[in-house]
Symmetry: C2
Subunit: 350 residues, 2 copies
DNA sequence: TTGTATGCGTTATCAA
DNA sequence: TTGATAACGCATACAA
């Protein structure tokens, strides 16, 4: 096996007896070079199988074509749909995505962002997470950043962001159920861990409460199930186990005729639990989810739920970020995406 | 706003009146430096909020702590479970993953690998895809590479790899159904596009055929549904639509008492289609999947299926790769992971 | 149009 | 133990 020497612009320059400057100019299609020499350089480059070293280029021009993406957990579909949307656009525009899983941990967020900055990322996308932003604002202020579906506690702080309105969506859900004739509507939600606070989850619950008020339905605290888990609850199996151990249908004061859920996983698990107890959905009780997972159309009964534009969150988010990166003017834009109710078979008139 | 100058090792060196060499040695905990100076350097570094530039370091020492990962499609759960497994280990060992979606396209594979190499990745992981490897072997031979769940056409070619046996698993599935008393077993599979060839899919189908033989059941070509789609079929909705338009249950010669499927999506879609026609599962026909998606325990009826160790594929794969990167000796290892049948409610005795 | 020379931030060699 | 300096591969300001 022959010793394979690294081919760089100097290899090409030497081979042709020209300067590296000319090689660089030729290969990057800058103007300052003659057509003839340019052609010879490009020929030699392909002949030698030259590959531009992105790392060196990045060091020189301070552009990496890397976008850092912060995800709070590796949850199926919800986050991955967002990522899929981003990936298509990023690839198309020759950017590379790198991910970090922050586990809803502020310390980890700081650590991950620091790592990204040391990699000279061109921009940052933060998906979901807590309502807190102060601990990372000093980084964000110096780096093009877009927030996706992250609701900040402090409304005065504003960052470029793409989001949908969890609260308004759940208000709509309550109204939808009310229109079906349900006057006694329960709610099932889970905070996936005790020490974290996820604004989206709070907002969905508040939407339920406000929805009752707006529809002139009375709130009954017995019919609100909202617990934190001490162990991390995220996937369907976890959710099922948690509800199985913590939610006692018989504890509902006056069994609700409809139960609104924080998300589809909870709805799907709840339906399974109800059916195991011989409670029929929607005959005995209507169940409504939130997220519109792909699978929710294939459960039995198919799930009525609220669809938020997951993939579009990613697409719009990355486009916004790339606009900011390539043209500083579009900063501080906030984009609200719509939600809508997908009516299926898990809800019925009463 | 003050002009924020980049803090580098020279900033620290200048501040203390020492050389950059000493700063580097101190910060990287190399030996050649006095304890006293080292302490002062580290203090100054934190004081100035110094962040090491990974790009410059990578250029110098030719190590990026980046692992490139090739995925053939953004399919939920199957690939994402693998990724989740990898991500945990990679993060733990301070590596960063970058992904490329090859869309089962050889040209794109070459392009993506080239991009990775230009980023000076430390290693490459290739998940799934076609049975062909020649077009990228020249890259792989010079870069630590691990194949995950990619079955090569040519058995003579050997790369470090982690996999499970699709064919053997489907043979087991046929035997399982046979033991339930099913003698007329159908099969439903889809090749997601016409011009691509995915070895795993071929192997699963072959497992069905071989399984019949081994169990002394006769093969009836009328009961094998295996079509290519001209449009890309991957997610559950696609699969449902495709089957709805192409699979006519009544065309089965002598309706099978059990139908084995290529994957869980197909099984779930098939069950929905059967139920829409009033055919009961498992009373009228048993249906068996492959993959054991999380959701498959929550369908109604819950799905009997074959579980392959998705997350473990990722964990074992990345560990193997990191071993190769850090210690060239473990090369050319092939690791076979077991599969097992998860018995649920979609199959019954006949 | 082309070449010379410098620097991006780091590590590493060699000399002091 | 410490410092001066070259080198990684590239782009660019400036000179020719």
């Amino acid at each position: 096996m022959e010793m394979e020497k690294n081919i760089n612009i100097k290899s090409i320059a030497d081979r042709l007896g020209v300067s590296t400057a000319s090689v660089s100019n030729a290969l990057n299609d800058k103007g300052r070079i003659g057509e003839d020499l340019k052609k010879r350089i490009i020929e030699t480059a392909t002949e030698l199988n030259y590959k531009q070293n992105i790392i060196a280029k990045t060091l020189k021009i301070k552009k990496s074509w890397i976008i850092g993406v912060l995800i709070p957990e590796m949850l199926f579909e919800y986050f991955f749909q967002i990522i899929i949307g981003m990936e298509e656009i990023a690839t198309e525009k020759d950017y590379t995505l790198v991910f970090a899983n922050t586990h809803y941990d502020s310390e980890k967020e700081i650590k991950d962002i620091n790592k990204f900055l040391r990699m000279l990322i061109d921009g940052l996308i933060i998906i979901g997470g807590s309502g807190e932003i102060n601990h990372i604002s000093k980084f964000i202020d110096n780096t093009p950043t877009v927030l996706i579906a992250r609701h900040l506690n402090n409304d005065n702080i504003s960052y470029p962001s793409v989001f949908y309105d969890d609260r308004a969506a759940q208000i709509n859900a309550v109204s939808y159920l009310n229109n079906l004739g349900h006057k006694n509507i329960g709610y099932v939600g889970i905070m996936p861990a005790e020490n974290i606070q996820i604004t989206n989850i709070e907002l969905r619950k508040r939407g339920y409460m406000d929805g009752l008020k707006i529809n002139n339905l009375k709130f009954n605290s017995q019919n609100l199930f909202f617990k934190s888990s001490h162990e991390y609850v995220s996937n369907l199996d976890n959710v099922y186990d948690f509800l199985k151990n913590n939610l006692f249908i018989e504890n509902f004061q006056q069994m609700p005729t409809a139960i609104l859920c924080q998300n589809d996983y909870i709805a799907i698990a709840l339906i399974k639990i109800l059916m195991e107890k011989g409670i029929r959905v929607p005959n005995d009780v209507s169940v409504m989810g939130f997220d519109n997972l792909v699978i929710s159309n294939y459960t039995n009964p198919a799930l009525t739920t609220t669809k938020q534009p997951k993939k579009e969150l990613g697409v719009v988010g990355i486009n916004l970020l790339l606009d900011i990166i390539e043209n500083k003017s579009v900063n501080r834009k906030k984009i609200l995406l719509p939600t809508n109710i997908i009516e299926r078979a898990s809800t019925a008139k009463v």
